[in-house]
Structures are given as structure tokens and as C-alpha cells.
Symmetry: C3
Subunit: 143 residues, 3 copies
């Protein structure tokens, strides 16, 4: 039984950061289109001011996570990136690097295997609205 | 030479968070069962209050890492998640999201390729004991 | 169309941590050698005092990220790891665990698919210079 692969790009319009967007249903759509029953899905944020992780996507956790992200690398302090580039997003770069751009999740019986209250989220850390791209690669068995 | 895949679920009984558990020997067992000689192992924590990473698993580092995790998102402060759900684990959600649910590691010559003092750990951030599941997907060449 | 795999080890001589090194061109070399057109690249740091992430690799962001890493787990405070092992790198272990050892990135049309200003970096958190190894596994379609 040989392995198959399916690649897809997901685009999300996001607000100025930190903005947190649930991309779970898009990933479920990718898995369904792939026809893959068991395997893994890897997803990566394109660009150095975005990140991926999983949370329980409810307004409280979203607010709490934004606060911690902004405490880890606050928007209002001096950044060496700012001194050279003056684009106001020094904190965005640091935040995204700390969280990391990629994630890999299991596919079991045709479904994304995650907790009932565990959603996959894209985070835009940039200081202005961005259309963000996430590249998804599904590898596994069909049928 | 075609690629093969092997999937397995690991279950770990964990204490209230932050609890850090060495799952390296379970992963080594999965690789051995898979028969895969070279490739990669991806592992993902099921649930939004758990995470995976690697550490030198000795009591000092375990204690140090717990301290930093609890400084990043302290248990004792107010969380918006708490205000709505009253389950006492607002910090757990934030901690797990910051560390991330997944990891991908190399398999070389039938072995998990990691440092001598580098172990794979599951972290339960939830505020009560949990039986946690980790889904493991091994992809690679046999023989 | 079956999947192929290509494995390679990258070695980088790094300064005492936090030292941040751009490994993008080495990864691009690995992809080219693999002949893989579409798929994914996973990379993992060998050793518990190193990590991988992506940043815009310019001196300002590098400096800003080092600062945040050293604020998250400062070199100058007491660590339980230190009390037992006296090797001066308690903070290194914590920093590396928080950032995580691995990353997975897309390959599209023979290229590493990342943002124009997004580079893959290895971070040495150890308190002395290290030759660090990163294991790379490329999986995907050829031609």
C-alpha cells in the first residue's frame, strides 16, 4: 500500500496583530479533498511575522493568548529592527519566531485527529492587516 | 524503494500541570515496531492543554522548565477564559499554545536520532491529572 | 506517482548562545540534491540546547530575538540544573525547550516555499561554542 501526497495553499485575511484565526475547517477540507485516510498533515505559515499553533478557539482563550504574546515581546518598546527599518513591527518578528511557523498533525480514519476543543489557528503578528498564506502538505494512505 | 508509514497512539497518565513526562522509550518502541530504518517521526498532543518538546530529562531541568512555563502564563492571575468557563485552567491553555502541540524528529539507521541527553517530553498543562494521548506517525524506508 | 525521501545532516559551527545562524541556503541545497519537486522538508536540531525557527535574518531582528530569549530564561539567575550539574547552562536548556527543536516547511516547484524575508535559523543556546547538527528529511514527488 503506497503513500500519497496532496498539497494545498490556504489564504486567510487577517487583522493587525496579534490576530488569531481558526483554520481548522479549511484543513479538514484539504484532508477530505486529498482522499487520505491515515497519515499526517503539515502546515507552515508563509512569512516571518505569522505563526501556527492549536488552542481552544473561544473568545476568552483568544484574548488570554494575545495578552501573553504581547507580554513576551511588547509592541511599545524599542527594537533594533525598528532602528534600521522603521516599519513598526519589531515585536511582530520576535513574537512569530518564538511561536514558530509550523505544525504537524495526525490524520486518522479520514479525520484530523485533535481534541474536541482543540482548533488549529493562524496568528498574524504583523502591525497591519495581512492576507496570510498557509501551505498544507498531507501525506498518507488512501482507503 | 517505496516509503512506508506506521501510526500509533501513546497514552500517558499525567499529574496536574505543569507535569513533564519522558516519552522517548515509547517513541523508540513505535519506531522498532514500524520496521522503518530511515525517515521521520511526527508526534502530536491530542487536546489543547498539552504540548510536546525535547529536554535533557533530569530533575533540575524539569523543575527549571516548569518555573519558566508558569512565569510565562502564571496560574494565579485573571484569565478571560476563566471569567466565562470557571474551570481554573486559563493559564493551561495559554501555556500549551505557546509551546505548541507537535514535533518532528529524524529516524536514522533504525534509531531515533537525537542528542545523548535529549529526551522527548509530553507536558500536561491542565490543572488536574489527565490521561493524555499522543499520536505518532512514522514515515520512511524499510531495510 | 510514488513518493521519495532524501535525508541529510547539516553541520554548523556556532558561537556561545544565544547565537542565531541562517541555514536557509543549506536547506535549499538539500532540496536541490533530493530532486524533489513538491512535498515537505522537516528539520530537527540534535541536542537539548539548540532550537530551530524562522525569522527575517537581519541584524536588528537577530538582536531583538536574542534579547527576548534571554528575558524568557535569563542566564544570570539560579537554576536547579546548575545546582546539580554546575555546567552553567541551566538557562540554555529552558530556552531551547521553549522554542522547540523542529520545524516542517513546504517544498513547491522545487523550491523551499517561504516568505521573501523569511529565513530558517538554527539557534545555539548553550553557554559555549558548539558544532551543531541539524537532521533534514525531505519527502515528496519527483518531477
Amino acid at each position: 500500500m503506497s503513500l500519497f501526497m496532496y498539497c494545498q495553499s490556504i489564504e486567510v485575511s487577517m487583522k493587525a496583530g496579534p490576530d488569531i484565526c481558526d483554520i481548522t475547517s479549511a484543513l479538514i477540507g484539504t484532508i477530505r479533498e486529498s482522499g487520505i485516510e491515515n497519515g499526517q498533515l503539515s502546515a507552515a505559515m508563509v512569512g516571518s511575522t505569522g505563526s501556527l499553533t492549536t488552542i481552544e478557539y473561544e473568545p476568552g482563550v483568544v484574548e488570554d493568548l494575545k495578552r501573553t504574546i504581547n507580554l513576551l515581546a511588547p509592541p511599545g518598546i524599542d527594537y533594533a529592527h525598528e532602528a534600521a527599518w522603521h516599519d513598526g513591527n519589531g515585536h511582530s518578528h520576535v513574537q512569530a519566531a518564538m511561536l514558530g511557523p509550523s505544525i504537524v498533525l495526525p490524520i486518522r480514519n479520514g479525520h484530523l485527529k485533535a481534541g474536541t476543543w482543540q482548533q488549529v489557528v493562524a496568528i498574524n503578528h504583523d502591525n497591519h492587516p495581512r492576507k496570510r498564506s498557509i501551505e498544507v502538505t498531507v501525506i498518507g494512505n488512501i482507503g
